[in-house]
Amino acid sequence: MTGRIAALAAGLLLLAGPYDIALHPTRAAPDARGEARLYAADSPFGVAVTADGRARYEIRINTRGLPRPDSLGAFRAYVAWATTPDLTRWTRLGPVANGRSTVGPVELNKFLLVISAEPDSAPATHSGPTVLHGTSPSGWLQSFLTHPLFRGISQ
């Protein structure tokens, strides 16, 4: 059963492609919609990585239905952030508006893509309400430690 669910989830993800991120709205902006796609950052090589091997991406974000930032409070811009899944490290990627925005680069193995309303377009830290969020495709990596396959049980 676990395998079927995982396979279904995998199939759904692959429909979107291995570089796509679905963005989900929050209660702060329930009508907001969006999706993002990872593009290899500029590099003379076949793939863009850091010296320690982490992939380097720029992110193209398409959003619709974002309300005026000031409708959410004392905010004047939307900003995209990348954060580690444990939310301990945040990197500001750049400003976002309805339509297409290109931000980055991001150099994290797994990350959450967060779009928040902020007092300006280049805040030092993330502080405003999140309006859209999504998970990098690498966030779909699954642990198989307890999977029956590794306990010698065929499906």
Binding site: G3, A6, A7, A9, A10, G11, L13, L14, G17, P18, Y19, Y39, A40, D42, S43, P44, F45, G46, V47, V49, T50, A51, D52, G53, R54, A55, N109, K110, P137, S138, G139, W140, L141, Q142, S143, F144, L145, H147, L149, F150, R151, G152, S154, Q155
Partner: protein, 559 residues
């Protein structure tokens, strides 16, 4: 003549008997259930065990290693590749033989050219033509392919396309002309998964007439990168009839520079060293850096980039070359490292993996001359840009040819199929390490067929029948389909021509260089512009040796 990989396999089956090490499970169709006490276990990543459903299985091929029955101590020891300067019109005898290599204190019978690993570093002037008399004295059919060189078709060394394999004891003559400056290499084009991995490779340096073609350096080093798969004191055998490790290619656990596990260089303070880097590994993609020393990127397969650039590291897919300069500004030790992010499939996590391939030790004596100022200057190579300008009008036109890269499998172990079915939620653009060595080991070219599929005709691999006119410019779009059983990056190599990587996923390349090998990451689309100037029948294939052995090749005819 075009079913090269299959011809090779058939040729091997019909070849003179190999003096190969054999274990007890021969001639077993499909997956063999070996005696686990006799079967060869393979090294697993730390903390990972072989999947229970795979235990006791062995690949459906006869294991072999070179020189079975030969005491390695009776073989001559391998020597380091020596510089061989050839002038226009010269002749070189190149002999492939068994020799003895000692890796981590253990002696093995392996292969080499002229008793050397790497083979002789052949240095010629641009425009020269030389004759190479190849003598095959190993226990497999062989040939010599002059990788990246735009030479006459009959001398390409592509067995099944331009020549028959040279049998053990046989000879073959090559006429090699060098129209382009740059760093090239030579290797067999028969069972590369064995012959190249066992030491049959060497560099070719083609010197341009202009002394300032490359920016100045105090000295030059040619580094050929490769790896070997070992378990304790044993080499993991290869498949006699066809490659094993067919899913991912064989990713070694002992990383080598110029055939040795510990590269060492002594340098003076402030010295600028020009490194010519060649990835001669079967499958591994490297991400190299020099302990934080600044790296200036100068060139790649067929010469210089449009613009020199500082880079944090150098990524080399199999068969690619890059020319860089590194300045060692202060005294100290600078490790040459391969740093990647491995994927632990057990835990579903990335794990940093760093291998030290060698060490550059810098003393306090100042380098003479001091090239620091020149190193800090990034040159624009206007001659390169001007030549490429002629091709820019083709950049935005629709592709002339389209290929899709995929894989088909049949008869793999049930546990492998089950795991691959559920582990499809994420594929990294590049598989830097073998995170599933048990499944990979058990996959052979009998069960795995890697595919180049022509989108226009649906034809695959050797059935693809492309004819293009000489002097035409061909835009080839390659898509690496992520929706396959096991998607993986593919370094695609085109023989005998040069090409530009003009876009990746629709994003134009900003700094161009002529290439003969280009990596196509998983899920990516890469646009190549081929300067089809050299007539003949030319192989187009994945340079992961096991993928080529599992069918991933086609032929482009330049008429």
């Amino acid at each position: 003549m075009r079913w090269t990989a299959l011809v090779l396999l058939a040729g091997l089956a019909a070849a003179p008997p190999l003096r190969a090490q054999r274990s007890g499970h021969e001639d077993m169709p499909g997956m063999a259930h070996g005696d686990s006490a006799r079967s060869m276990p393979i090294p697993m990543p730390a903390g990972m065990v072989m999947m229970p459903g795979l235990r006791g299985l062995t690949p459906a091929v006869t294991p072999f290693l070179p020189g079975a029955g030969v005491d390695p101590m009776t073989l001559p020891p391998a020597r380091t590749g020596s510089l061989t300067r050839l002038e226009d019109g010269d002749t070189l005898d190149l002999t492939a033989t068994l020799l003895r290599r000692t890796i981590h204190g253990h002696a093995f019978a392996m292969y080499g050219f002229n008793g050397q690993v790497p083979g002789p570093l052949i240095r010629v002037s641009q425009g020269a033509t030389v004759t190479v008399r190849f003598h095959n004295r190993i226990d497999l059919p062989s040939s010599v392919h002059w990788h990246g060189v735009r030479l006459d078709n009959r001398s390409d060394g592509a067995v099944g396309v331009t020549q028959d394999p040279v049998p053990p004891g046989g000879d073959f003559g090559y006429t090699v002309r060098f129209p382009d400056a740059g760093v090239y290499w030579y290797h067999p084009h028969v069972r590369e998964d064995v012959e190249q991995a066992m030491g049959l490779y060497g560099n070719l340096m083609v010197d341009p007439p202009a002394p300032d073609y490359w920016s100045p350096a105090n000295r030059e080093q040619a580094l050929m990168l490769s790896d070997l798969l070992m378990q304790a004191d044993t080499l993991i055998p290869y498949g006699e009839e066809s490659p094993d490790f067919a899913l991912m290619g064989r990713v070694g656990n002992v990383l080598l520079v110029n055939g040795e596990p510990g590269y060492a260089l002594r340098a003076h303070r402030g010295e600028v060293v020009r490194f010519a880097l060649t990835n001669a590994a079967s499958s591994r993609t490297f991400n190299l850096s020099f302990g934080g020393a600044p790296i200036k990127l100068l060139g790649s397969d067929l010469g210089r980039f449009e613009r020199e650039a500082m880079v944090p590291s150098v990524v080399l897919a199999p068969a690619e070359r890059y020319i860089v300069e590194v300045r060692f500004e202060r005294p100290g030790r600078y490790p040459l490292v391969n740093a990647v992010q491995a994927i632990n499939h057990f835990r579903g996590e990335f794990e940093p993996e760093v291998d030290t391939l060698g060490m550059v030790t810098v003393d306090s004596i100042p380098a003479e001359p001091d090239l620091g100022a020149g190193f800090g200057r990034l040159r624009s190579n206007t001659a390169v840009s001007q030549e490429i300008e002629h091709y820019r009008r083709y950049f935005d036109r629709p592709p002339d040819k389209r290929l899709t890269l995929t894989v088909r499998t049949a008869g793999l172990p049930l546990a492998t199929v089950q795991f691959m079915t559920i582990d499809t939620a994420y594929y990294a653009p590049v598989e830097w390490v073998d995170g599933m060595p048990d499944m990979n080991w058990l996959s052979t070219a009998k069960q795995v067929r890697w595919v180049l599929r022509d989108d226009a005709t649906g034809k695959e691999n050797g059935d693809i029948d492309w004819h293009v006119r000489q002097e035409s410019v061909v835009k080839l779009r390659i898509f690496n389909d992520p929706r396959s059983f096991h998607p993986m990056q593919h370094p695609i190599h085109l023989h005998g021509q040069r090409m530009l990587v003009i876009a990746r996923d629709g994003v134009p390349t900003r700094n161009l260089v002529w290439k003969d090998t280009a990596m196509v990451p998983v899920g990516s689309t890469v646009d190549l512009l081929i300067d089809a100037s050299n007539p003949g029948a030319w192989m187009l294939h994945c340079h992961i040796a096991e993928h080529l052995g599992a069918g991933m090749m086609a032929v482009m005819y330049v008429d």
